[in-house]
């Protein structure tokens, strides 16, 4: 067991720190959370900045040490979040890198790295959320195209995305986990309609996507026809396993700010509040260590592809994030009812964490059945 930086890692960390200190003060101001085109431009601009400095592909690097150092240092310095690049960089990108052909990798990966294209995720449907394999969006073969009809829902970034990682049913007679195919679909293709959904936070974070005989070239299929479920499991393991690690560092920063605010407001003498924040410190320290543990295990056992241990992390983290912002509300007092405070918006959006990317209930089934070997059943 060794948590120290290797000489190469230490050099990477020092170089990155220096670059962040030089680069961050020159960034343009952040757009408002509801300004989607502005957010797209801002997030892609940051990715381009990373690309020009040679940091763009850090999420896909083989070395887990370097990847964690990158997330740790950028968050600690208050650098922009991955934002609109989330699906492309942390989700579709790694999937295409692992399962795509050389031609597909050459077509899709560089624009993601250069901050030129945004991806969204077309997995969930009105009747297929937690039961993802119940999806009904159909695709027929017509020559060298698939013709796709159906609808998707809860699609983050749909309004500003260029591409969609789309799951479709190509064999309706097969058992439900078979007969599914993974396609890359252009969002500006004829027949694609995006209708924004308003979240409980009042913003339009995600959308419904309607597909009416959309033509997708067969060459846009990643993996074999009807083998989409397996490809999807690779995608989901990335999503649950490593996509949230930067956020843990961000939560630790917020927690420090909470403590500082409590002290400024004269609340530090309240032992119940102090102990609550102390306990959250333990929680987020442990989550960071769990991340390091999972990444080390994945590296050793599966060449970097995260395992079901990601479900363990996701369960714990999604709850901890909600606990953090509940504590923030206690620190804020009446201000916790003011939507103008960023912690209040973050508190509202934290409610999605135990639902998105597989609900906590589904994650518990996964842990119980696939790690503990308990019998299937409901």
């Amino acid at each position: 067991m060794d948590l120290s930086d290797s000489p190469e890692d230490a050099e990477f960390r020092a170089r990155l720190r220096e670059w962040l200190a030089k680069t961050l003060p020159a960034l343009p101001p952040k757009p408002s959370p509801d300004d989607w085109p502005g957010r797209r431009a801002y997030d892609l601009g940051w990715q381009r900045t990373l690309y020009d400095a040679g940091y763009a592909d850090v999420h896909w690097q083989a070395s887990p040490g370097v990847r964690l150092i990158f997330l740790e240092e950028t968050e600690r310095a208050g650098a922009p979040y991955v934002g609109a690049g989330f699906v492309g960089l942390l989700h579709a990108g790694p999937t295409i890198a692992a399962e795509g052909t050389a031609e597909q990798r050459a077509r899709w990966l560089p624009p993601v790295l250069r901050g030129e294209e945004v991806w969204c995720q077309g997995f969930s449907e009105p009747g297929a959320g937690s039961d993802l394999a119940a999806l009904r969006t159909r695709a027929w073969r017509d020559g060298d195209h698939y013709v796709v009809s159906g609808s998707k829902i809860w699609t983050s970034h749909a309004e500003v995305a260029d591409w969609c990682e789309l799951l479709v049913r190509t064999d309706p007679r097969a058992p439900k986990h078979e007969g599914i195919t993974w396609l890359a679909m252009r969002m500006d293709a004829p027949g694609v309609t995006v209708r924004p959904l308003r979240t409980l936070a009042g913003s339009t974070e995600f959308a419904e996507v309607f597909l009416d005989e959309v033509r997708v070239p067969v060459g846009n299929r990643v993996g074999a026809e009807n083998d989409g479920w397996r490809v999807t499991m690779v995608t989901l393991s990335f999503e649950r396993g490593t996509a949230f690690v930067g956020e843990v560092v961000a939560c630790r920063r917020v927690l420090g700010e909470l403590a500082a605010r409590a002290r400024r407001d004269g609340r530090w003498g309240d032992p119940a509040l102090r102990r609550r924040l102390g306990r959250l410190n333990a929680e987020f320290r442990a989550l960071w260590r769990l991340t390091q543990w999972n990444v080390s295990e994945a590296q050793a056992a599966r060449g970097g592809v995260p395992g079901v241990g990601g479900s363990v992390f996701k369960l714990r983290y999604s709850q901890a994030r909600q606990d953090l912002y509940d504590a923030a509300a206690e620190v804020l007092g009446d201000t916790a009812l003011d939507l103008g405070h960023p912690w209040v918006r973050d508190r509202l959006s934290s409610l999605s964490y135990t639902i998105a990317a597989g609900t906590s209930q589904i994650q518990r089934d996964i842990v119980a059945e696939r790690i503990l070997g308990l019998p299937k059943g409901r």
Partner: protein, 299 residues
């Protein structure tokens, strides 16, 4: 960063697990319950011969010369086997109290919080135990006395206690899963029911989170990491044992089932070395210190 036990560390853990499996199996555990307050001195000497107490003592002083990470793995196994006795006090006395390293001398100690385990059963008592008041110990395998609190807790004691809690939490999760697979109700294993399944899953999540925290704290030796490890491991052990009891249903409430032994030992350890409150306060202070440090950097 290679945050996994090395081959040598795994071999050490397997060795201790095999020794305890052979010398302190379930039958031995129940036999110990039937003769409270009496230690198995032969087993104590075997632990000494295996290096349990001298593990962190330098080789020049006749020790094994290993570090905190190895000690954490070994104490985790002790916690998993629910091994009774003042293991921690004797381990901490190795090199200072003659015979402790070899397992010839059983050492009890007054800890920072004022709790003394095995006061009457030990050969040597470290610290001022004058005026110690006996408790009717809730744990049949841990006789207890209290004295007024005596000052700051030792971070190593906190860490190794957390490692023991981790082991007990692991055992609780294993027992729950074992029972959930075997016990049938309504014509199927109870583990097929989501209500039971989710109790087991949550137990594992707590174990794995605590494991990462305990191992990391053993590597860094940082007091805030150690305090965090203790809070997570206490939670994993206590809630793990409670949920294990719930999964066992009525059987879990009986003296014959081992579940209560896990829970009671976990409770005893939550009171060691200042208790969880002290760790929460330390971690709260750490938040402000970190904020002040970062503020200083920005200026």
């Amino acid at each position: 960063m290679r945050f996994r036990p090395t081959d040598d560390q795994r071999a050490l853990r397997e060795g201790v697990r095999a020794l305890l499996g052979r010398r302190f199996d379930r039958e031995a555990l129940r036999a110990a319950v039937d003769r409270p307050g009496r230690l198995d001195r032969a087993l104590w000497r075997e632990l000494g011969a295996a290096g349990f107490f001298a593990l962190r003592l330098p080789e020049a002083d006749g020790g094994v010369g290993l570090g905190l990470p190895e000690a954490a793995l070994v104490f985790e196994e002790a916690g998993r086997a629910l091994l009774p006795g003042p293991l921690l006090a004797t381990h901490l006395a190795a090199g200072e109290v003659p015979g402790a390293a070899e397992g010839e001398t059983v050492v009890a100690a007054v800890d920072g919080g004022g709790l003394v385990e095995w006061l009457a059963g030990a050969d040597v008592v470290r610290g001022d135990a004058a005026g110690a008041v006996p408790l009717d110990s809730v744990d049949p395998l841990t006789p207890l006395h209290t004295v007024p609190a005596r000052g700051a807790a030792d971070p190593v004691a906190i860490l190794l206690t957390a490692a023991e809690q981790l082991g007990t939490a692991t055992r609780a999760c294993e027992l729950a899963v074992q029972h959930a697979r075997a016990r049938e109700q309504f014509g199927r294993p109870v583990g097929a029911f989501q209500a039971i399944k989710h109790l087991c899953a949550e137990a594992l999540v707590r174990v794995e989170t605590a494991r990462a925290a305990v191992y990391a704290a053993a590597v860094t030796g940082d007091p805030a990491d150690i305090a965090a490890a203790r809070l997570l491991a206490d939670e994993a052990a206590v809630r793990g044992a409670r949920d294990c009891l719930q999964v066992h249903g009525g059987m879990g409430f009986t003296w014959e089932a081992d579940v209560h032994l896990l829970l009671k030992r976990a409770w005893v350890r939550t009171r060691r070395a200042g208790g969880g409150t002290e760790s929460e306060e330390l971690l709260a202070r750490d938040l402000l210190a970190a904020t002040d440090r970062q503020g200083a950097c920005l200026r």
